[in-house]
Symmetry: C2
Amino acid sequence: MDQRIELRHLRYFLAVAEELHFGRAAQRLNIAQPALSQQIRQLEKIVGVELFRRTSRSVRLTDAGATFRPRARDLLGRLAADLDEAGRVGRGEAGRLDVAFITSATTIVSERLRAFSRRRPDVQIKLHDGFTVDVLAALERGTADVGIVRDAEERDGIDLSPLRTERFVAVVPAEHPAARGQRVEAATLAADPLILFPRTAGPQAFDVNTQPLRDAGIDVQVAQECSNWHTIVMFVASGLGVTIAPYSVTTLLPAGARRLELDGPPAVSRILMATRRGDNRPLVQAFTAASEPVTDRGHHWDNSQGRPS
Amino acid sequence: MDQRIELRHLRYFLAVAEELHFGRAAQRLNIAQPALSQQIRQLEKIVGVELFRRTSRSVRLTDAGATFRPRARDLLGRLAADLDEAGRVGRGEAGRLDVAFITSATTIVSERLRAFSRRRPDVQIKLHDGFTVDVLAALERGTADVGIVRDAEERDGIDLSPLRTERFVAVVPAEHPAARGQRVEAATLAADPLILFPRTAGPQAFDVNTQPLRDAGIDVQVAQECSNWHTIVMFVASGLGVTIAPYSVTTLLPAGARRLELDGPPAVSRILMATRRGDNRPLVQAFTAASEPVTDRGHHWDNSQGRPS
DNA sequence: TGTATCGATAAGTTTGAACTATGGATCAGC
DNA sequence: GCTGATCCATAGTTCAAACTTATCGATACA
């Protein structure tokens, strides 16, 4: 009947093509010579043409055989490589990881990525930046494998684990009366227009971010909404108002903006690693495993990294 | 033990990857479901990682499986194509044919090639031109598969079959006394210096070529040896002497040379197809089979193709 | 809670790849 | 020109493993 070709046929064919001797080829394959003859004959039947021209004294490749030899060789090589790759992907040593993150955590992400891709050079990383809501949405719809968000609330189907915390600081225009000092009490800022992201962009993050103001008894009213921290800080530098920001977004301030430590009850922003619940793929686990929570890294930067001159 | 991978594994894997359902995949493969489960498990053991994540309700590809799927698909496609190509090569429908030929038979070769490659578009033809001795040598050492030679003698290991015959004509300078007529008797040329290829380039061909002169009782002495017809004819045009040539090399004569029909006993040059004895490869047979002997095609060209103006 | 669906497991069956023994053809050497 | 050696093909047998049927356990749905 119509027999299906198997890799065995290719392996046997290559052995005979190399040895040009059924006996020796069979020996190399650890089978008996008749079995080899049978399989080669079977292969020839499948292909429909002779691959070897044999006399009782010699074995030669036909044109068809000579054409097929390098292809068969290549095929087996490819397969071995593909199996190996699949294995490495399965073990998390290779593959692709889609990382979504909030723009204000770029520093953290780049640190982590540098370390991660040194340990897993064959993992291709695709980055997607956005707001916390976007990051979580990407995670839920499967566009991203891991997410890095700020002050997100628990939600179904998403696991959150703390990455690090940062204290909040105030950012004011250089002409602001408080800008002459190093510190400020939140209550002092009551009269200033507040520039911040819209609450809809991240209700939880918004509430945490404005906690210092509420602690000071201020009724929080956003005078100017901006969607990302870079713009917010630029507006502050332009004298349009003040803001309260996680420390790390103030490491590089434009001329005209000043960072001030906040007096009062300590308030922290929490940066979180987000994954789909039950997603235990090795690559995801490897990425999250590398993440140990660090408390308030902001403190370390106080003297080593000031605002730009 | 360490089981070897077979194409069956790939075929089964692809079926499950496509259906994402062991029952339906098994049905499509015309096997029972447990057999499929077993083989997939075996494949996973070979690769070393899970390819599917199954619950009792659903089947999903793992990252490793998703990586492997297109590769497996590609591999099977390639193999099918390679088998097909080998088959076509075996049947002489594809492959490569090395054709060696004498320069003075270019016209014949190009005619034949045009017809041949129209019928076998997938056959790649490699051309090698040279003298009869070179063509035969290429054939013997395996550099060429078929050869086209002129007036060669039988030799061991080479089969010769007649392709066509051509009459000989005389070529003389335009200032030659005989150039005023259309015909000449060989004896008339006795006093003119003879320009011809060296006898060593092809003893048999040389003897046939000079037969008209010997028939006329002339003692053949080559005054000027040239290795190819083009040069010989150019020398004739320069007035250095005369020559006797097969008709087809005179279809395009330089200004200053004139073709004259030879009176006397008809002498013909035979163009032969040469192959290695016992070389019954389909491509060689297809090429030679297309060759039916044609007698003295030269006649047809008499009026349709004159010398260039 | 019962029922249907689906993959895994267990045990028996069959297919076919490989084995041993032998035949037939070719080549070398006496 | 016969003899022995070499080598691939053939014949018949064996055994591993792919496949079968029967069944289980888990999950989803009504």
